[in-house]
Symmetry: C2
Subunit: 165 residues, 2 copies
DNA sequence: TCTATTTGTTAGACAAGCCTAACAACGTCC
DNA sequence: GGACGTTGTTAGGCTTGTCTAACAAATAGA
């Protein structure tokens, strides 16, 4: 139950990228991992050696890169953190996708399981609220505050404007 | 206007700690910086050399450590990020102070100016809402959702319970 | 099939940030 | 004012994660 691995951000990034490439292209190759992460193939090689020793990837010379079950779990966890952070930044804080993505990439290595769990709940709460009734009225009020700097008591107007997306 | 310094998290931590020690003790000494950050004095020395070269601290052998104006600005920025993240984690997400502090320490190096600004607005929005009227009703609803997993249409009950602090 | 291009591997260097261990300055207390 | 404990400094080493450059394997084209 306890994730006592203490993986570095870099290694988490490698796992995440491998998982992503496998999802997109069915296979992950050294070169593609490198270009995704903007590092040289030799760095990828060193990382794969590291991750193999930790039992997170399966790799043999000149072959494709694969994740072990454990590796997949770690990758999924990182991706989940990324996703929830991205949602929070874009949907709640209304941050542009580019900046939000960048920040999510860095923050995903910094948040605890606890914060991830609570933030997930928060996003669920927001998304449920956006399902039609007025329980996420506050989000609209926040966006109004963001734009104008003024707090208003927007009494649930009947006319919704599905802003953006 | 543009912060093109690209300071490492470690160096940001040093600046933040120096500012904190100065605020608490009026002076910052090598040894105290080291124990605050759980690193050895020799590491502090190396960091001070680095930060001096960058024009962020003023330090002469065997003396006290001081921040330059620029150094103070950077430290303040980091502290501001820390504070707003801590507030978000504790007040909005209801995360325990210990975990929230740890996370804030890591996240403070990961968020952009943009995210800091929006999150600050969000916290303002929440705090204004908590000032007495029911505009932060949603936060109470979220906390209810956190506890019970159920969404309710808590129609602004007159009886507030100022839960914890 | 042979050769050219692409892809992968290895060795060796380097920077950041930490450490230990030995040494130097400081301050204090008889 | 000298000896000692504390604090600061320096040298040198280690780890992580990156790079370049040279080499090796694989693949594709003619």
């Amino acid at each position: 139950m306890k994730a006592c691995d203490e993986l570095s951000s870099s290694m988490e990034d490698y796992l995440e990228t491998i998982a992503l490439l496998k999802k997109e292209n069915d296979v992950a190759r050294v070169r593609d991992i490198g270009s995704s992460l903007a590092v040289k193939s030799s760095s990828v090689n060193a990382a794969l050696k590291n991750l193999s020793q930790k039992g997170l990837v399966v790799y043999e010379r000149y072959g494709y890169v694969n994740l072990t079950t454990k590796g997949e779990e770690v990758a999924a966890k990182v991706q989940d953190k990324h996703d929830v952070l991205l949602k929070f930044l874009t949907k709640v804080l209304s941050i542009d996708n580019d900046i939000a993505s960048e920040d999510a990439c860095k923050m995903e290595h910094a948040i605890s399981a606890e914060t991830f769990a609570k933030l997930s709940k928060f996003i669920q709460f927001v998304e449920i609220g956006m399902g039609g009734d007025n329980s996420a009225e506050w989000l609209k009020r926040f966006n109004h505050y963001l734009r104008t700097g003024k707090i208003v008591e927007m009494q649930s107007t009947a006319s919704y404007r599905s802003k953006g997306r």
